[in-house]
């Protein structure tokens, strides 16, 4: 008999029931001890709490677009405040329950996404989840939604109204000018001086240098410069003065060659036209400057005309021209370069005066009518701006509840 058997026989023989109860009590406490030990094990930090999902997901066909675009908006996850959310993932599917593929993601704090990969005419379903980079929240779902292209951009309706009013203003004054009405245009000193400048060059026996800017033919300022070149070329043809036109754009060069050639033919001096005087230099900005400066220093023109779009090279050109003693007339719509031309040149056409030059020099009634129409529309713009400023100011001061005018002027 083993020691354990002897113990059991003693317990059950001498103590009997008491011993049995004691044994049962001891044994029954052990599971409790085990359970108590387990109850001490898991702490709050070990419990995984899911990330709060975004809510109120709303999908709509993106308005005023070319199609294939759906715009999603949602309410941010409440876990953004705890810093658990890093990104929102956007999923799309053609089915409400399956087949979702991630189409994009946005950073924390963003509550909108534009999906540009939808198929027009086909319904799409969307889900958005919040994620910390690894775990994802439950999704917010919306759909079906169908994307489609629009034929009119409603965000630009105000621009269309303005354009129509502008066209009517131009057409009205052009018709008035054609009808013989006298239209007053204020004096532009820079343009009046072109005649004197050409005369000066003729007397000195020196050439005129015409620089039409560094922009291409698609820039309206370049076209305005070409219009002026035509008038200047007529004068130089009449006075038999050499006209040098270096270009930074080959297409502009081709157009200017035709313009100058036509101008010389018009005044009956086609033989005086020299194609080599209207030439291409280079497209590189400062290489062009170096080339033109070289022409200025070697040829020492009596008159230099800067007309068109200019950039950082404007002051280098104008100062070199001033150093060789030329009379300089500039005209540009580049607001940042105007101060340089104003300080270095004798006369400067500021902004829209460059565009008025063609009408001013030719004095054609139709062109003058267009100029008056432009001025009339500028007056309308001024009145609208004044109303908008008053409206915004009253709203800012609290006199009115809101500003109804400024939102009408915003364009997409």
């Amino acid at each position: 008999m083993s020691e354990f058997d002897r113990l059991l026989s003693v317990l059950f023989s001498r103590t009997g029931p008491v011993a049995a109860v004691a044994l049962v009590l001891v044994l029954s406490l052990c599971p409790c001890a085990a359970i108590a030990q387990e109850a001490d094990g898991p702490v709050v930090s070990d419990i995984i709490v899911p990330i709060a999902p975004p809510t109120a997901l709303h999908v709509e066909d993106t308005p005023s677009d070319r199609g294939s675009s759906i715009t999603l908006t949602w309410e941010l996850s409440s876990d953004e405040e705890t810093g658990r959310v890093l990104i929102y993932r956007v999923y799309r599917s053609a089915d409400a329950d399956t087949g979702f593929v991630q189409v994009g993601r946005v950073a924390v704090g963003s509550s909108t996404y534009r999906d540009g990969g939808a198929t027009d005419g086909e319904p799409a379903f969307y889900r958005v989840t919040a994620s910390d980079g690894e775990a994802e929240s439950a999704f917010a779902a919306a759909g079906p939604i169908v994307s489609s292209p629009q034929w009119f951009n409603a965000t630009r309706a105000n621009a269309m109204v303005g354009t129509i009013v502008f066209v009517f203003a131009i057409v009205f004054f052009v018709r008035a000018a054609k009808g013989g009405k006298e239209l007053f245009i204020r004096r532009l000193a820079g343009l009046d001086e072109i005649d004197n400048a050409v005369g000066r060059a003729t007397e000195m026996g020196k050439p005129i240098l015409f620089i039409s800017g560094l922009s291409g033919i698609s820039d309206v300022a370049t076209i305005a410069a070409i219009n002026i070149l035509g008038e200047v070329a007529k004068k130089t043809a009449e006075y038999n003065t050499r006209l040098i036109v270096p270009n930074a754009d080959p297409i502009v060069m081709a157009v200017e060659q035709e313009v100058v050639k036509e101008a010389y033919a018009k005044v009956g001096r086609p033989d005086a036209y020299n194609e080599d005087d209207v030439f291409y230099l280079t497209r590189s900005q400062f290489a062009y400057v170096a080339g033109v400066n070289g022409i200025m220093v070697r040829q020492r023109p009596a008159t230099i005309l800067y007309m068109g779009m200019f950039y950082a090279e404007s002051l280098v050109l104008a100062e070199t021209g001033a150093s060789v003693g030329s009379i300089q007339i500039a005209g540009t719509d580049a607001v940042t370069q105007l101060p340089f031309f104003i300080t270095s040149c004798d006369y400067t056409l500021i902004g829209e005066e460059l565009y008025a030059a063609s009408a001013y020099l030719s004095r054609e009634p139709v062109l003058l009518g267009g100029l008056k129409g432009q001025d009339m529309f500028k007056f309308v713009v001024g009145v609208v701006l004044l109303i908008a400023v008053v409206s915004a100011t009253l709203a800012a001061l609290g006199v009115t509840a809101s500003d109804p005018i400024t939102p009408l002027l915003a364009t997409g």
Binding site: F152, N153, D249, M253, K261, Y355
Partner: protein
Amino acid sequence: MRRQLPLTLCFIAGVFMAVQYFIPHWRVQDVYDRFLTWLQIIFAFAFLLGTVSLVKVHYHKIRNRAADRGFSWVVLAGLGSMIGLGFFAPGHNDPGSPFDMMFQNVQVPIEATMFSLLAFYIASAAFRAFRARTLEATLLLIAACIVMLGRVPIGDLISERIPEATRWILTVPNLAAKRGIMIGVGLGMMATALKIVLGIERAWMGGGD
């Protein structure tokens, strides 16, 4: 026909470009994108025009033994060498190729040198322009001094009001003038473009009716 065809093309293209701004539909935008691609192709061919013009002008100067024909030799030599390196040298115009080395070590430093002249020209222009001959010139001089001082640390050392005055000058009267000019420029551009599209302005075709 010689005049009518370009005027008609200009009208059609101009109206389309204006209308496409208000129509976002892909059918219209695809045509617009195609227009832009065509423009790039035309520009690429235009470079050929420019190169031919450049070579012709300088060839004539050399042939006629013009006084400054030395510069023409330099231009033609540079043009020829870069074309040769770009087409025939190993690596063509890849980084590290002879073409790229010439561009990075010759053209770029020369252009930077020309740009750096701007600083000296600003000084010379300021010396000539900032003189108190008239009321406007005096105002320009005072404003320029305040703005220049306010943009460097010494202005703040002299007085904290100088940078404040600089900010006010740049953000109130200067910005107001800029905006006024830009509104006028915008309207001028629209009017000129409209006159070209409608055929009222025809000087760009070579003058005449």
